[in-house]
């Protein structure tokens, strides 16, 4: 085995309700939705009206500033509602499936025998393109760029993360086709971030056109941004493309079968799930059939994604475009009498200021309580302990808050996205909303760069 990069800094948050490794059965979802807010900086332009009949792979909307990027329907059926929020911003385009799953057909061909432009064209036409995201900034990749690398992290270290070794089992061929397409796009090898134990070594060693990097350590070792930082860091002007492992399968299926088939195996996990396990569903599916009979009583929070970076959705909400996990945890609407003074035997804390340091292996049932009020940033040196990158988190955040673009660039804003600093936000005693501060800073930066 090649050199393993061991990351020491970080934090594994152990939560109750990890998904059991089996694929359960659930009824077909009654509706699907594509959500423009899943895509950073996207300004959507609709191509359908309410009531239109569409096929799987028909466009629902496109990117106003890059009209070649289409966002297409995961199923065939009828556009039911276009759900808008404040200032008529489009939040959800809801499609009711007709159960027939009529597909638009695309070119079925071996990507290695195709030209780069042809591959790009097929990906754009079918709506598979948005699965390719770029670093910096974490928005949909620009078809006109040539990235310096394509990076895939084959394992996820976040709390209750789906096990990709389990999900990808038996999909070697499709995955390889997806990887081949991506390698044609970058003009080089595709970089894979692999965990020496958590990844399926037989699966990994059979792959071609890949360069494998081994990583070990607590979360965020599985974050692709951290892996890029330790192999080929992003400097100003660099572009790296990243794809989730399951989305490589979607790319693979496009070229193997000539259809847009966004199937996905999703883990349903969390302390409030009765039977945490995996389900086969599609991108944008309503989570209702997965959680309807499967959650405990009480005031619950449903999250598409993990507890660190996921999106809060309703019980009848829709799976996010990039998510392979639905987490259900209790809400935390309660006020605790002198909670800050108590010994805190069962309280989760990164610091050892509660007695819970006595039980480091305990699995927690954590709720959404903020555990305190917002304060100025006071503690230094704390945030770097959960981010294994050469980045001064507090200084970067302060530069971001005051909008000092030069300093943001200098301190490495090109290397981090929300998921990388999510742990800093979790452990922050000042309860600063770091992820949204960072995103606002990135938006300012994008505007400034033009």
């Amino acid at each position: 085995m090649d050199k393993v990069i061991k990351l020491k800094r970080g934090l594994d948050i152990r939560l109750q309700g990890e998904a059991e490794k089996k694929v359960g059965r659930a009824s077909e979802p009654g509706s699907f939705a594509l959500k423009p807010p899943d895509f950073h900086t996207l300004v959507p332009k609709l191509t359908v009206h309410e009531g239109d009949e569409i096929k799987a792979g028909s466009p629902l909307f496109f990117d106003k500033y890059r009209p070649e990027i289409l966002f297409t329907s995961p199923v065939s059926g009828q556009v039911k509602t276009i759900f808008r929020g404040e200032r008529r911003r489009i939040l959800e385009v809801i499609v009711i499936p007709d159960g027939k799953q009529d597909h638009l057909t695309f070119r079925k061909s071996d990507p290695l025998s195709m030209k780069r432009e042809e591959i790009v064209e097929e990906l754009l036409k079918s709506g598979v393109w948005p699965f390719i995201r770029q670093r910096p900034f974490d928005h949909v990749a620009d078809p006109e760029d040539t990235p310096k690398a394509v990076f895939i992290s084959l394992f996820d270290t976040s709390p209750l993360a789906p096990d990709y070794a389990f999900i990808l089992k038996g999909e070697e061929k499709v995955f390889q086709t997806g990887v081949n397409a991506l390698s044609m796009l970058s003009g080089g090898k595709v970089h894979l971030g692999v965990h020496p134990e958590r990844s399926d070594s037989a699966f990994v060693s059979a792959l071609q056109n890949v360069e494998i990097h081994y990583f070990k350590g607590p979360h965020p070792a599985g974050n692709v941004g951290v892996q890029i930082h330790h192999t080929d860091p992003i400097n100003k002007g660099d572009v790296v493309w990243v794809v989730n492992p399951q989305d490589v399968l979607i790319i693979g299926r496009l070229f193997e079968e000539g259809i847009y088939d966004p199937q996905r195996i999703v883990a349903v996990a969390g302390s409030e799930v009765k039977e945490p396990q995996y389900y086969r569903t599609r991108v944008g599916a309503s989570i209702a059939p997965l959680v309807e009979e499967n959650v405990k009583e009480g005031d619950l929070r449903f999250i598409s994604g993990n507890v660190l970076t996921g999106t809060k959705i309703a019980k009848t909400g829709y799976l996010g475009f990039y998510d392979s996990l639905v987490t259900v945890i209790p809400e935390g609407h309660y006020s605790e009498f002198f909670g800050w003074l108590m010994p805190g035997f069962g309280k989760f804390s990164f610091s050892r200021s509660f007695f819970s340091w006595l039980t480091p292996k305990k699995k927690y049932r954590l709720d959404t309580n903020l555990h305190g009020g917002h304060r100025a940033l006071v503690f230094s040196g704390l945030y770097e302990r959960v981010l294994p990158m050469d980045i001064l988190v507090m200084q970067l955040l302060k530069a971001t808050i005051i909008g000092d673009i030069d300093q943001m660039e200098n301190l490495g804003i090109y290397e981090v996205v929300e998921e990388d600093i999510a742990l800093c936000e979790v452990i922050d005693p000042s309860k600063t909303e770091m992820q949204s501060i960072l995103r606002n800073g990135i938006n300012v930066l994008i505007k400034e760069l033009g």
């Binding site: 948050i13 080929d232 400097n235 929070r301 999250i303 507890v307 660190l308 970076t309 809060k312 987490t327 945890i329 006020s335 605790e336 009498f337 002198f338 909670g339 800050w340 003074l341 989760f348 804390s349 990164f350 610091s351 050892r352 200021s353 509660f354 819970s356 709720d367 959404t368 309580n369 903020l370 555990h371 305190g372 009020g373 304060r375 100025a376 940033l377 006071v378 503690f379 230094s380 040196g381 770097e384 050469d390 980045i391 001064l392 200084q395 200098n410 301190l411 490495g412 929300e418 999510a422 936000e425 979790v426 452990i427 922050d428 005693p429 000042s430 309860k431 909303e433 770091m434 992820q435």
Partner: protein, 387 residues
């Protein structure tokens, strides 16, 4: 608890905007959140959060100060009765100390928190917990017989000029507790130095028995009377005159271990500060031209407020260096300067306060260079890949 919660919920509306007591909104909120951790939930970003908040972080520091405080209280009584030539039991000694100590604590908290509440209301912020620690520290670093009005004035000065004008906790440049002490030191030197002020009663006409001087070991040393220094064991345990909480190195070490273990205090600053003090002590030993410079380097670490300052004041996360490399440099220089000022500057018998305040001022400069180094590493990397 339920009844209290219901009562708070009932009176809450009159403190909200438009309510009758709107001007006490911050005050109400401060007391409410003191008794109940708020029921707020996450709305964006991470859905779960660490149980630690600012209140917890600050109370941990106060817990760490408890051993030094308890010992200090006892020592007030011990020194007093030693001077008077009496030998009452443990509890009388302790209660006498408590009687002297409590007014200091009450004045410090009432004045400081009063001002904090006012500023929070003016700014529309929540009351910050920083003063929980500052207010606890101040009585520990003043002489026991300091008149209360002086203390009140010093606290007000420290909170307003030392902290609030910069924007409150998290924004201040100087450690507020040390600012209070510096204010007293330069405004009322007669109450902050000499042989009379360190033992309760001496300033008020108590006649000390023969052979009891009342001077702190530092004052003795500065006067060149090295032979009058107490034994190292006495200095380590703390049965010597001095400011209320600073005398017992043992009690301070207990607090230091607690701070390091819980991860609240920076061990890097503490370790490097002690290293800095030791190094300066050794340098002085090398060039010793008078008895004071011959004092063994390690004994300097037990003397005066060195341990207390380096464990509880230099580590203040707001005013210390905020980068990890910076902390090593900052702590080392603070320790170095403290001993340098102490031994070589005849005007100031103790250099710890001034050394830390000086390093507070220089901390942003140290950080600046550490940050520049980080930026340079990033730029250098870019050039290498461009080739």
């Amino acid at each position: 608890m339920k009844a209290l919660r219901n009562f708070l919920d009932k009176i809450k509306p009159s403190f909200e905007k438009g309510g009758r007591f709107e001007m006490f909104h911050s005050t109400f909120e401060a007391f409410e959140t003191l008794m109940f951790v708020p029921d707020k939930v996450t709305t964006q970003g991470s859905h779960i959060r660490d149980a630690m908040d600012m209140k917890r972080a600050m109370i941990i520091v106060v817990f760490a100060l408890v051993p030094a405080t308890l010992f200090g209280i006892w020592n007030i009584g011990y020194q007093h009765f030693l001077a008077a030539g009496e030998e009452p039991g443990f509890w009388s000694t302790f209660l006498f100390g408590l009687w002297k100590y409590l007014p200091l604590l009450v004045v410090s908290y009432v004045v400081g928190l009063g001002i904090e509440f006012m500023f929070a209301q003016l700014r529309g912020h929540e009351v910050n917990e920083g003063f929980l620690v500052t207010g606890f520290l101040i009585p520990l670093i003043v002489p026991v017989d300091i008149p209360l009005w002086m203390l009140a004035l010093a606290v007000a000065f420290a909170v307003i000029i030392g902290k609030e004008v910069f924007g409150g906790t998290g924004m201040n440049i100087l450690n507020p507790a040390l600012t209070a002490r510096a204010f007293l030191f330069f405004s009322y030197p007669a109450w902050m130095s000499g042989d009379q002020v360190w033992v309760a009663g001496l300033k008020h006409g108590l006649q000390a028995v023969d052979g009891f001087s009342g001077a702190t070991p530092l004052a003795e040393a500065a006067a060149g009377k090295i032979e009058h220094l107490p034994s190292a064991m006495q200095m380590f345990l703390g049965t010597i005159p001095g400011s209320v909480g600073e005398t017992s190195t043992l009690a301070i070490l207990l607090g230091a271990l607690f701070l390091i273990y819980t991860g609240i205090g920076s061990w890097k600053i503490m370790v490097s500060a002690f290293a800095g003090g030791l190094v300066m002590g050794l340098i002085l030993n090398l060039f010793a031209v008078n008895p004071y410079m011959e004092v063994p380097a390690w004994e300097h670490l037990l003397l005066g407020g060195f341990a207390f300052g380096m464990v509880f004041m230099a580590t203040d996360p707001v005013t210390a260096a905020q980068t990890e490399t910076g902390k090593w440099i900052y702590g080392f220089l603070a320790g170095l300067l403290a001993i340098l000022i102490r031994v070589l500057n005849p005007a100031y018998p103790e250099g710890v306060m001034l050394a830390i305040l000086l390093m507070n001022v220089f901390a942003p400069l140290i950080d600046h260079y550490v940050i520049e180094a980080n930026i340079k590493r990033r730029l250098k990397r870019a050039k290498v890949t461009a080739q």
